[in-house]
């Protein structure tokens, strides 16, 4: 770059006074830079690799300690597990223990040994769990624990309620895109089938949710800088089934199929709005404020300077194939650390009526927005696109009671869709989820 200045008075003065001028930036800016650059130097993948390493070390240590117990105790543990789980009842006192199925015991002597050991090992703790249970859980995933019971197939039902919060954009910077409150209620049934090295699971599930997003003025997801938008999913419904393979090492792989149905309502409040973005749409709505029915059609920015508020309804269905690989060691009794990564292939299909309604300051005549109804598209051909989603997650779970646990989720998601509603250009975005939930095993 050649430094060249002419002799213009204005240029000279501004250059002299402003080129080397200084002003102290706010302190938080450095924090943002520091976090963002540190993240690049220390990416998530290494963070997860370290966690995996730490988890493996802790598991190995705990398992090693467990194996140092004498073999007779191990047999007692297995035998007592049969009592606890297959018998279907628990007893508070060791004196009440009776074996529902003792056919696995080799001889009477071993059986007596086991009973003796039970009397010293089995005792309830304050958390409602026996020491015995805790010992059997160390280093074992739930399906593997059931492997030890000797049953070939076991069924388990659970219900869960989780609250998510989503952030979009880069980590370490101001999160953009607005927050998302996402309560989700799910019911899941898990069937486990014991194999030699693996336990196989089949888990159908159903969940209902509600999503709310708010776009602030500086949101880069908003169509225009100076408007505020809120998107509410009235009710999201999801049904799915997951097939899983669980290894004794607590590594598991899951593949599934999921179908989701969302009905959305977008409410946009404009401050000094000039354009309303609408895409291929069909349908009508009645706005009581202006006592008028309008319809919007075609993929354009429609200049509607008079509208201060607008509502757009749409519905979309998603067919997903989630593939997940994870590791879920129980590091300590009652504490399981789940680490997982996966990819989800989604086909999103938008359809139904997209309807814009609004109120006008200067005119109630919004009929100019109405399209030629003869050119309306078929509903099912309305709009669809692929979305590929890669994610990594940490999912610690605390088992507070035998059938009751709380769990946390921190998930980072990278997604790419082949096109967006407003563009044919592939779109990439990043999101971070934090969630907390409770799970009750029935």
């Amino acid at each position: 770059m050649l430094i060249r200045y002419d002799e213009h008075e204005i240029d000279k003065v501004f250059r002299k006074r402003l080129r080397d001028a200084e002003d102290t930036p706010p302190l938080h800016l450095w924090e943002g830079v520091r976090l963002a650059t540190r993240r690049r130097r220390f990416p998530f993948v290494w963070f997860f690799a370290l966690l995996l390493l730490a988890g493996a070390g802790a598991s190995a240590l705990l398992m090693f300690n467990s194996e140092s117990d004498n073999s007779v105790t191990q047999k007692a543990v297995i035998a007592s597990s049969q009592q606890f789980f297959i018998g279907g009842t628990e007893s508070n006192s060791s004196s009440e223990i009776s074996f529902a199925d003792s056919s696995n015991m080799d001889n009477e002597e071993e059986k007596n040994q086991t009973i003796e050991l039970n009397s010293s090992v089995v005792r309830k703790t304050n958390s409602g769990k026996s020491e015995l249970q805790k010992r059997t859980q160390v280093g074992n995933s739930i399906p593997e624990r059931k492997n030890q019971l000797g049953a070939n197939s076991i069924s388990e039902e659970s219900i869960s309620l989780i609250m998510f919060r989503r952030y979009a954009g880069k980590l370490g910077k101001k999160f953009k895109g607005g927050g998302l409150a996402h309560p989700d209620f799910g019911v899941q049934k898990e069937e486990y089938y014991r194999g030699k090295a693996f336990t196989f699971s089949l888990s159908p599930y159903v969940s209902l949710g509600k999503v709310e997003r708010k776009f602030s003025n500086d949101s880069n997801q908003a169509q225009q800088k100076d408007f505020l938008a809120r998107t509410t999913t009235k009710l999201s419904k999801q049904v799915g089934i997951a097939f899983g393979m669980h290894h004794r090492s607590n590594i598991y792989a899951q593949a599934g199929f999921e179908y989701s149905d969302f009905k959305e309502e977008h409410r946009w409040n404009f401050e000094s709005q000039t354009y309303l973005f609408v895409f291929d749409s069909v349908g009508t709505a009645y706005d009581s404020t202006i006592e008028q029915v309008i319809t919007v059609y075609d993929s354009v920015f429609v200049p509607v300077p008079a509208i201060k508020r607008a509502t757009v309804y749409n519905r979309f269905k998603t067919w997903s194939i989630p593939l997940t690989l994870g590791w879920s060691p129980e590091l300590f009794p009652g504490f399981r650390l789940g680490l997982q990564g996966g990819v989800v292939f989604n086909l999103n299909k938008y359809f139904g009526g997209l309807v814009a309604t609004g109120t006008s300051d200067s005119s109630n005549d919004l009929s100019s927005l109405a399209p030629d109804s003869a050119a309306l598209h078929k509903l099912e051909d309305f709009y669809h696109h692929w979305l590929i989603d890669i994610h990594v997650a940490i999912n610690p779970e605390f088992e507070l009671r035998e059938n009751f646990s709380i769990y946390l989720i921190a998930q980072r998601r990278w997604a790419m869709e082949d096109a967006t509603i407003d563009s044919d250009i592939p779109h990439r975005f990043r999101q971070t989820y934090f969630g907390m939930g409770v799970r009750l095993r029935l």
Binding site: L2, R4, I10, F14, L18, T24, L29, G32, V33
Partner: protein
């Protein structure tokens, strides 16, 4: 004070103390650069943050041929232009009509830095960008044309309009001041 080479090598080695020092050394000046290109203080803060992230990303390409400050300044200016471009605000730079140049009033020298900065910030984005690049940061019209994807004629035209706009703003500013003194 740590010399440039040590500072850069320390940053590249991942030492946070060196990165912090580099930031502290140049953040003040670069904040004013960002303020000049941005339309508001809030935007300038965003630009500064993005720019320094870019500086640390690109630091390995610094070859010590020139001063570190000059290199940082170029990265910051380029980042600002990219951010402006991402917001599609260069749409208004399309006027290649020649505009008669204007002379500046002699009162400029009496103005404070904040006042001068405010004058720059009140310019329309296109004028402001070209004026900053040409008058303050020393880019010539061919470089500006390449950077902003406009013609050299447009660059000259925008510069002339920026100067005229500044002159009018200065005159208005001093009229108000003088009036206030009289009252």
């Amino acid at each position: 004070m740590t010399d440039d080479r040590t500072l850069v090598e320390g940053c590249l080695a991942g030492h946070e103390s060196y990165r912090c020092e580099l930031y502290k050394r140049y953040a003040g000046k670069m904040f004013v650069v960002c303020k000049r290109y941005a339309g508001s203080k809030q935007e300038a803060e965003d630009y500064l943050q993005e720019s320094f992230i870019r500086v640390f990303e690109k630091l390995k390409t610094f070859n010590h041929a020139g001063s570190l400050e000059g290199w940082v300044r170029r990265v910051v200016v380029t980042s600002c232009l990219n951010l402006l471009r991402s917001r599609k605000i260069f749409g208004d730079i399309n006027d290649a009509m020649p505009v008669q140049d204007t002379n500046a009033p002699g009162v400029l020298a009496d103005m404070e830095e904040k006042e001068l900065l405010a004058l720059v910030q009140q310019l329309p984005t296109g004028y402001r960008t070209v004026f900053n690049l040409y008058a303050i940061d020393g880019y010539d019209h061919s470089e500006i044309a390449t950077l902003l994807h406009i013609s050299e004629g447009t660059s000259r035209s925008q510069l002339a309009k920026a100067r005229m706009n500044l002159r009018e703003a200065i005159e208005k500013h001093y009229n108000i001041k003088g009036y206030a003194h009289q009252v």
